[in-house]
């Protein structure tokens, strides 16, 4: 078709974002910005014990405080989250027992937040201490006790071994073993979680505003827990100040607020404070990988054995446990971009008396990549080879696609070796190595680290839900402008722009004439939300298909009205015209007017209106982006402090919808990866108390910590509509491993090899001093 031959005007261009103006003007509306008269504010009483029996809860003093409307305990809100897959029940307010510091014990409803906090302090909770379960290994054997009396602590055990593993491993000429550990971290979106629930007295329906990544998922979960039909619940997700996976989950606070709105008959609002976030938002990582690598003298890796221990915290999230997700992703991607034929994987996940773990951008990807990239670098060091050379020996080549991994994934084509060679050229690798030697003589320890990653995206299953498709509803209004609506849940990714770009190109209109709606279950088509790097690929595919469907109708109308054949009609710059004869045409505005209000002129049998709803499911179970992160760091061996001097990303996520937005995603993930490798750690003490309860202790990277990042794109298209691949997580997948390897490289003269993140400066000093 002619129209298809035209070069897209917006797709692939650096279109500046349509959502920016309201955000820049300070006019955006996040949950806490929505003021509803008569709202009660909520403050929670949270457990200050890691494990204890609740002896009594006395709210009387709190209730006497003027301005306090109610204080709830489990008896007032007897909702239990039944996680059948895990055989664990979680009361939304602790009943009988508390299992982590930060668990909800009571809810105070008051006229304002200050009063609510005054009252929360007056709620008297008596506890009887229980020994906390804090050691993962001990927890495996139910020592010192069970977190949930009715079931063993080990709730997940999986073994996967390829048929040839034993032989390959036994016969391998060389072996080495390494234990990788990434400590607890969290997404720490800048906007804290928040929820505003209100009854609609007229209709009896319940409206819930929430900062969330998946509006329909939240609606389904709320409806189920409150035993309401889904059409009686409206979830509205307004502007969201970052999500990173944390906001994809269901949290008990939402059930309590929804229940309270109905029972108290007033709007109720809760805005998490930062300490609550650090205590009880999904924690992540917290996994140990005991890895054995079998290889030969040429650097070829023959087999990997990995035993993973994951800590789920006290409860799984509804339908999802971070420990299982982390371990699953990390081991599914264990062989990364390499042709490693044999694996043996064992996973053990346990409950503990720490906060629940859930998703954080990349899920197990960052750890998985750190493990395979650590393995490659360790092999290089063992053989005295260059790390780049070991990668060359092992890369999956262009002739190998589709490549089936030993863990069952099927990679679509990517640019594994090419991306590395490009990055090496950008950093001028040979010269760098010479310079490095020079610096070492002067006592400067500069290292380069690579992390080649494969990012599975757009799955059938992701933490945002388990639906393998996305929906786009696209309507051309009677004046020719377009309103589109999606079930996505953007948290800053710019879907209002990228989806508009795709639709505008299909219809030959200006991107600014497309308004993209999302977040309101009353108007959005059912969708899976945003997570698992699915929106660009699956949502984008839906946008294109919906655009195509609408275009087909416009073309048919135009052909009829212009008395031309459909093949000759093209849509350009807001007009439908006969190709080559621009004078013979109609504006889309005119066509739209006819479609709605002058329907006598429509072709025989055509339904009036210009509105389509299309669901799109990609042809593959997942599509795999890839790339490399290359970091140059300098380690001050006297202080253990690490500075990132240079950072290169070569990224291949198939066709780009908007390179500027892709680069923004990459920069942000790299910053988080630098945090993950060098700064961020949620630390518990020996009693199970979280000691990092403020941003003074949980250190986020600042403008000083993140260097300039050089990004290049390669484009190996996927088989999905548009050729897109997901890319929201790859940047955080690649960064920690790159930094870890760079620090190892810098400290190679001291025999240091990094396996634990974040890297603590005190450890560096210790290793350098002791030569460990």
């Amino acid at each position: 078709m002619t129209a298809e031959m035209l070069k897209p005007k917006f797709t692939g261009a650096r279109v500046s974002r349509l959502e920016d103006a309201r955000l820049l003007r300070g006019q955006a509306r996040y949950v806490d910005d929505i003021a509803v008269p008569g709202t009660l504010e909520v403050a929670f009483v949270r457990s200050n014990r890691a494990a204890a029996r609740i002896v009594s809860i006395d709210p009387s003093a709190a209730l006497r405080l003027p301005g306090v409307r109610a204080v709830w305990t489990f008896a007032d809100c007897p909702i239990t989250i039944k996680n059948r897959g895990f055989q664990v029940e979680q009361p939304v307010l602790a009943k009988d027992e508390v299992r982590f510091v930060g668990e909800l014990v009571a809810a105070v409803f008051a006229e304002d937040r200050y009063t609510a906090e005054d009252a929360a302090e007056l709620v008297q909770v008596k506890y009887e201490a229980l020994p906390p379960v804090l050691d993962t290994r001990a927890a495996l054997t139910d020592a010192p006790r069970r977190v949930h009396a009715e079931r063993p602590n080990r709730f997940y055990h999986k073994v996967h071994e390829t048929d040839g593993f034993q032989q390959a491993f036994a016969n391998a000429p060389r072996k080495l073993s390494l234990t990788f550990r990434t400590n607890r971290q969290t997404g720490a979106a800048l906007e804290t979680r928040a929820c505003l629930a209100m009854p609609d007295p007229a209709s009896g329906r319940l409206t819930v505003y929430a900062t969330h990544q998946s509006p329909h998922n939240l609606r389904a979960q709320l409806a189920r827990l409150l035993d309401l039909p889904e059409n009686q619940v409206r979830v509205v997700v307004p502007e969201v100040g970052g999500g990173f996976g944390i906001k994809a989950m269901f949290y008990p606070e939402y059930a309590i607020l929804a229940d309270a709105a109905r029972k108290l008959g007033r709007p109720v609002k809760w805005v998490s404070d930062r300490t609550e976030c650090l205590l009880a938002d999904a924690h992540a990582r917290d996994a140990v990988h005991e890895l054995e690598v079998a290889f030969d003298e040429t650097g070829r890796i023959l087999a990997l054995r990995d035993h993973v221990y994951g800590d789920a915290g006290a409860y799984p999230f509804l339908g999802y446990s971070g420990a299982v997700g982390e371990a699953g992703w990390a081991t599914d991607m264990l062989t990364g971009p390499y042709k490693i034929p044999e694996v043996s994987i064992e996973i053990d996940c346990v409950f503990s008396n720490r906060a629940p773990t859930g998703p954080y951008r990349g899920v197990g990807g960052p750890i998985g990549a750190q493990v395979h990239e650590g393995a490659v670098d360790a092999v290089a060091r063992a053989l005295g080879m260059d790390p780049a050379e070991v990668r060359r020996v092992n890369f999956i080549g262009p002739q190998d696609f589709p490549y089936e991994t030993p863990t069952g994934g099927v990679y679509d084509p990517g640019s594994y070796r090419e991306s590395m060679e490009r990055a090496l050229a950008l950093v001028d690798y040979e010269r760098f190595r010479r310079q490095q030697a020079e610096w070492r003589k002067q006592g400067r320890y500069v290292g380069v680290g690579m992390c080649c990653f494969v990012e599975p995206s757009a799955f059938a299953e992701s933490e945002a839900g388990s639906i393998p498709y996305e929906a786009a509803s696209v309507r051309m209004e009677p004046n020719g402008t377009v309103t589109a609506s999606f079930g996505l849940g953007p948290t800053g990714q710019g879907h209002e722009t990228t989806m508009a770009q795709l639709i505008a190109d299909q219809l030959g209109i200006d991107v600014r004439d497309v308004v993209v709606l999302h977040g309101d279950t009353d108007s959005a088509p059912f969708g899976g939300g945003t997570g698992g790097s699915r929106s660009g690929t699956i949502g984008g595919g839906a946008a294109i298909r919906a655009g195509q469907t609408l275009r087909a109708k416009l073309v048919k109308m135009a052909a009829h009205l212009l008395e031309a054949s459909e093949e000759d009609i093209e849509l350009v710059e807001g007009r439908a015209q006969v190709a080559g004869v621009p004078a013979r045409g109609l504006t889309l505005r005119e066509l739209a007017r006819i479609a709605y209000t002058d329907i006598g002129r429509l072709p025989e049998g055509m339904t009036p209106g210009l509105e389509v709803l299309v669901r799109y499911q990609p042809p593959l179970a997942a599509t795999y982006s890839n790339g490399i992160h290359l970091a140059v760091v300098e380690v001050d061996i006297r202080t253990g402090l690490v500075r990132v001097l240079d950072y290169i990303v070569v990224n291949d996520c198939g066709r780009l919808i908007n390179p500027m937005i892709v680069e923004g995603q990459i920069h942000g993930g790299v910053a988080q990866g630098i945090g993950s490798a060098l700064l961020e750690e949620l630390r518990y003490d020996g009693d199970g108390q979280l000691v990092t309860t403020s941003l003074m202790d949980y250190l986020l990277p600042t403008s000083h910590d993140v260097p300039r990042i050089r990004v290049e794109h390669l484009e190996t298209p996927s088989a999905s509509e548009g050729g897109f691949k997901g890319m929201g997580e790859g940047s955080l997948i690649g960064a920690p491993g790159a930094i870890a390897n760079a620090v190892s490289d810098a400290l190679a003269p001291f025999g240091v090899f990094i396996t634990e993140l974040p890297i603590r400066p005190q450890d560096i000093v210790h290793w350098v001093q002791t030569g460990a």
């Binding site: 937040r113 200050y114 404070d273 402090l641 700064l679 003074m696 600042t702 910590d705 000093v765």
Partner: protein, 271 residues
Amino acid sequence: MKPVAFSYHRPRTLDEALALLRSEPDCKVIAGGQSLIPLMNFRLSRPGALVDINEIEGLNRVEKTDGGLRIGALVRHQALAEHPLVREVCPVLAEAAGHVGHWAIRNRGSLGGSLAHADPAAELPAAMVALDARFEVASADGVRQVPARSFFLGYLMTDLAPDELLVAVHVPAQTGRAFGFHEFARRPGDFALAGAFAEVGPGGAGAVTWFGVSGGPERCELTFPEDAAAREAAFAALVEPFDPGQDAPYRRHLAVQAAERAYQQAVGGRG
């Protein structure tokens, strides 16, 4: 994260403030609030009344005196870092002030607040000890002078009585001694993991004042050895008794490094 209720007073004069401090039970001075309000938001500090000294005339002046500088308690960290007189008479103090927190914190946090709060990892208390400053402390009974070197009594503890106000500090002009400053933090702008001021006089006689490695500023006199290894050993011996709490060996090690870099700056600046 909301403070408990308190009553609020905003005196216009020093006398009014001192009278309030005497008469109001359970009351606290608020200057920049950059230490006090975070504590109040966490409800770790729960004063019944606040006496806001921000509107008192004259507390934010920097003046040249016979012996050096008189700096008002309300001089903000940013002003201290930028003030021409401070930069001229006492450049190391300006430099240290520039290391306190971030711009927005420095715009509001005050010298007096930092000294009265006495965070062991804070730069300015150590600067005062290093520079041998003298504090002008007022109460309804009058004014007394307290040497910085006897003001800091330990973790968040000072010689100030609850009804006293730190009004100004006197920093003597430094003659014949060169100063250097260095600190280490996880991220620039964070409280220091360890930091040091070095003062080097004729013949290498001088002192190091450390912060972040003990309950308060720690000043140790020594003659700086010429030889780097010997200097390092001397610093290490001096910091050995300090208890920095968490990660003690590492923090002591950093203290040695900070002293060395401060020393290098001092002697570099002198040469």
